[in-house]
Amino acid sequence: AYLKKIDLFGFKSFPDRQEMILKRGINVIIGPNGSGKSNVLDALLWGLGETRISTLRGTNTQDIIFNGNHRRKPMASAEVSLVFTLSQDDEEKVFLRKSFRDGESVFRINSQKVRLKDLTDDLYSLGLGDRRYFFIEQGMVGSLATMGPLEKRSLLEEAA
């Protein structure tokens, strides 16, 4: 499977709907400090079912919803869609996650409403289970060196 598209709307610094249509090989994102590059990766993690707000660099669940600027009001919800092309027959699968300021959340797979657990189970079957196996956060590239022996073991077991 490969990720064909990331679609953001109301997530962090993306109040206007934005999409990124990716290639199979190496996709590079550039831009000035503070422009929203790491926010796109947070959107990807959130769309994959991440629940720890600290991993998304926030302190409370509303920190992922656009909180306004000098002329726009904070938005009421954040929405991210991840479109995967499955390897066999170019079939597409769309994972959608939406959250409201009051804490309500909606999850969909191909427009079908599902629970968070169904979303993460599906992604697990695509090989996107343990985040440490495929995601290195900003400033953390040396972290494999400083991880303890049992944590290294559990990472190694992902490769089995």
Partner: protein, 158 residues
């Protein structure tokens, strides 16, 4: 099971040794078990020997060396079981020019089995990209994404 774990360790050890030798020509590396008698619970350690230096734990390496050795371990695991996608946020920040070139070679080797999404400030790292995206704030606090068509040289909104 025990058998599966020790096979995984052996395979990743092999991969780690090979990838490390590419990144640090003349060096060597190994994955070791802290307690080989207890396969079900033992912790795992990574020991490396840099070219001409003594064997040591990853902790004692420099900033750039740690980054590269960590990547060697990650890619050694990908040899066994490729991740469908791999997301790397400014992992080239601690690297010097020579090691940025090694990183680029590593990415090129694995791009057939893994899709990469990579953030960088290094113009050299951009050279291996199949697609480049720029993110900017035309209005303060509001991010927009556009794709950069390097052959044409200009950017078009995504």
């Amino acid at each position: 099971s025990k058998k599966r774990f020790s096979e995984t360790v052996e395979a990743v050890n092999q991969g780690f040794r090979e990838v490390f030798a590419i990144l640090f020509p003349g060096g060597s590396a190994e994955v070791t078990l802290l307690d080989p008698e207890d396969l079900l619970n033992t912790g795992v350690e990574l020991n490396v020997r840099l070219p001409g230096k003594r064997l040591q734990n990853l902790q004692l390496l420099s900033g750039g060396e740690k980054a590269l050795a960590s990547l060697a371990f990650l890619f050694a695991m990908f040899r066994l079981k490729p991740a469908p996608i791999c997301v790397l946020d400014e992992i080239d920040a601690p690297l010097d020019e020579i090691n940025v070139e090694s990183l680029k070679k590593l990415l090129k080797t694995y791009e057939l089995s893994t899709q990469f999404i990579l953030i960088t400030h290094h113009p050299k790292t951009m050279e291996v990209a199949d697609a480049v995206f720029g993110i900017t704030m035309k209005e303060p606090g509001v991010s927009t994404i556009f794709s950069i068509d390097r052959s044409a040289g200009e950017a078009s909104p995504a």
